[in-house]
Subunit: 356 residues, 2 copies
């Protein structure tokens, strides 16, 4: 039976990524060796790393603009620490927008380093919207925001223009929509949504902002050291980087970020239209801030939960129960999800309406 995988992450990836990466485990590049047993310094893997780094920049329109792409370990959670270590001056300050659980985690780590100003927060409304109308202290060393909030189903549609470095955690919507990415000085993203399997983190850094904090930075947390070592300061996560490259190659063949954005818009429109039309459901997030990646919604009457759950399971859907912070349902529609899978969910919602 066909599966419709709505997991919030790690999540659905293109079938060709599964096919090609399974093949590379048995025989990589026809070398007679598995991708799991080759040196990260081997010519074949250095080529993988180089292509993944340059393709990430190309897909975001950031080639030849002073940026470097790195594939690091530790997830976005380690970047919560690396960002202030590299950018916050001794006795300086940082400005953070608190739009959800992960933004809040980033703020917590920044507080170890110095004054951390939360310019706005939607915590009181259980993060059901993106805060707006805030001002950022002009003397902050940098501004940090989170472009998409997986748990709450909200997504930033606009970003401020500021005279300071802008850092953005794009873990859950990178490569899903066209933005002027050159507005940002650091973009980071755990691979496990639109880029690849769990185990590597893409970090894109504008080189000119580094080396100004005056801090002594432990080697493994120092972006300059990782750039100098061409993302091989220590052994990278070979297989996750390779599978990420396959996913980026698939995206390029599809037509790049602009092409997938159209598909993502169509999927989101299809589902949100049904959430708004169907009298049994309501959306969880403020309409103007709705995420095109993660749609959060609730049954108006919790008494229908068991019936609905039985119906979507029978349709081959998995991964849509909502996060415990929100309840209800969360349908994650990352790049690799076909619109046909969204139609299956919409059909189940319609069928529930008829059945009740």
């Amino acid at each position: 039976m066909k599966k419709h995988n709505y997991s919030a992450g790690p999540c659905i990836l293109p079938q060709e990524v599964f096919d090609k990466s399974a093949q590379a485990i048995l025989n990589f590049n026809d070398s007679g060796l598995s991708i799991l047993e080759i040196s990260h310094r081997s010519k074949d893997f250095v080529a993988v790393m180089d292509e993944a780094r340059s393709l990430a920049l190309e897909l975001l329109g950031l080639e030849d603009k002073g940026y470097k792409a790195l594939f690091l370990a530790g997830g976005a959670s380690l970047e919560f620490l690396m960002v202030p270590y590299n950018l916050m001056k001794e006795g300086g300050k940082a400005a953070y927008l608190d739009s959800g659980t992960w933004a809040s985690g980033a703020i917590k780590e920044a507080k170890f380093f110095g004054e951390t100003v939360v310019v706005a927060s939607s915590k009181e409304e259980n993060y059901n919207n993106i805060p707006k109308g805030y001002s950022v202290p002009a003397d902050a060393d940098y501004f940090h925001c989170t472009s998409n909030n997986t748990i709450f189903g909200t997504q930033m549609k606009e970003f401020p223009s500021l005279d300071m470095p802008i850092v953005c955690d794009m873990s859950s919507d990178i490569f899903s929509r066209v933005l002027d990415f050159s507005k940002f000085d650091i973009i980071y993203a755990g691979a496990q949504k639109n880029m690849g399997p769990a185990g590597t983190t893409l970090v894109i850094v504008k080189e000119e902002i580094l080396g100004k904090s005056g801090r002594i930075i432990p080697s493994i947390l120092d972006y300059e050291k990782h750039i100098k070592a061409e993302s091989m300061y220590n052994t990278p996560a070979v297989f996750p980087v390779y599978a990420s490259l396959l996913t980026l190659q698939w995206l390029k063949k599809l037509g790049g970020v602009a092409a997938v954005e159209k598909l993502n818009n169509a999927k989101a429109e299809l589902l949100y239209n049904e959430i708004d039309r169907n009298p049994l459901f309501k959306g969880a997030a403020a309409v103007e801030d709705r995420s095109n990646m993660n749609a959060t919604f609730l049954l108006n009457d919790a008494a229908h939960t068991e019936t609905f759950d039985t119906m979507w399971k029978a349709a081959g859907i998995s991964g849509i129960p909502g996060h415990r912070s929100v309840g209800g349902y969360r349908a994650s529609m990352y790049n690799a999800m076909p619109i046909e899978s969204v139609q299956v969910l919409v059909d189940v919602m319609k069928a529930l309406e008829k059945a009740i």
Copy 2:
């Protein structure tokens, strides 16, 4: 043609790990989903993580002795930082044995935190031996050593008994020989030698030593937070952890660490005997400190290099050029390497002797 993979790491793994992990990428546990697209919170992956953690302790004889096993990200290089963050008191000191490049890297990171005493170093002899006869300051917060030095081909055969926590980087020889592992309070190891593919790091911690440094530790670097979260503080490297579990299961079926130690001893004896017998070669490391994992050796006459290189390549051997710090050759014979592959190398060495 059969390949004989002597790569120093990432390195050879058992064929059944390749077969089973490729299958799991196409269809994991007959779920119809790939291991690359499932949530780390799914029942099936939680079971993988739990089994990997308990099997690691079981294979080292550390169950029910107050230890916890974690699969973290960032490699041994991040542990260089986490160890002092968690163990070195404010104004305290740490004692390190400098036996090679990685030990030296660990020392460098510790110096960010406080007084770091190098109790002994073999750096002056290009790390061709393990320093001995040192004394450790009684007031150190912990003692750190590196059990096997991949680059130089040396291995600690004895460990000191001390009234302080002992921390050991066992990245390149964990699960290869029987030791009294309960002598150690923290053992860490990047997966990519005897445990699995690159991308995850095993950290084994004796819980009672934690929480005593008085430091405020960033969340992502805090062993106590990782233990509390059962090694899921943030998204783990799902596939590398799964492939590590497969490797540990293979080792258990083989008879565990004692069984593989016999095989490793036989492989090392076969190769070192030839290095010592064959007048064309000499070993690079002090005989009493020779590593059973990485045998470093040189041609007595560099003029034979081209001939030898042509011969081993023709025999299907790969990965034996030595590290640039030592030169010559390095044959890495990790757990998964069959003795037949070592015999092929020995035969090439004998053939060279005849040819010259």
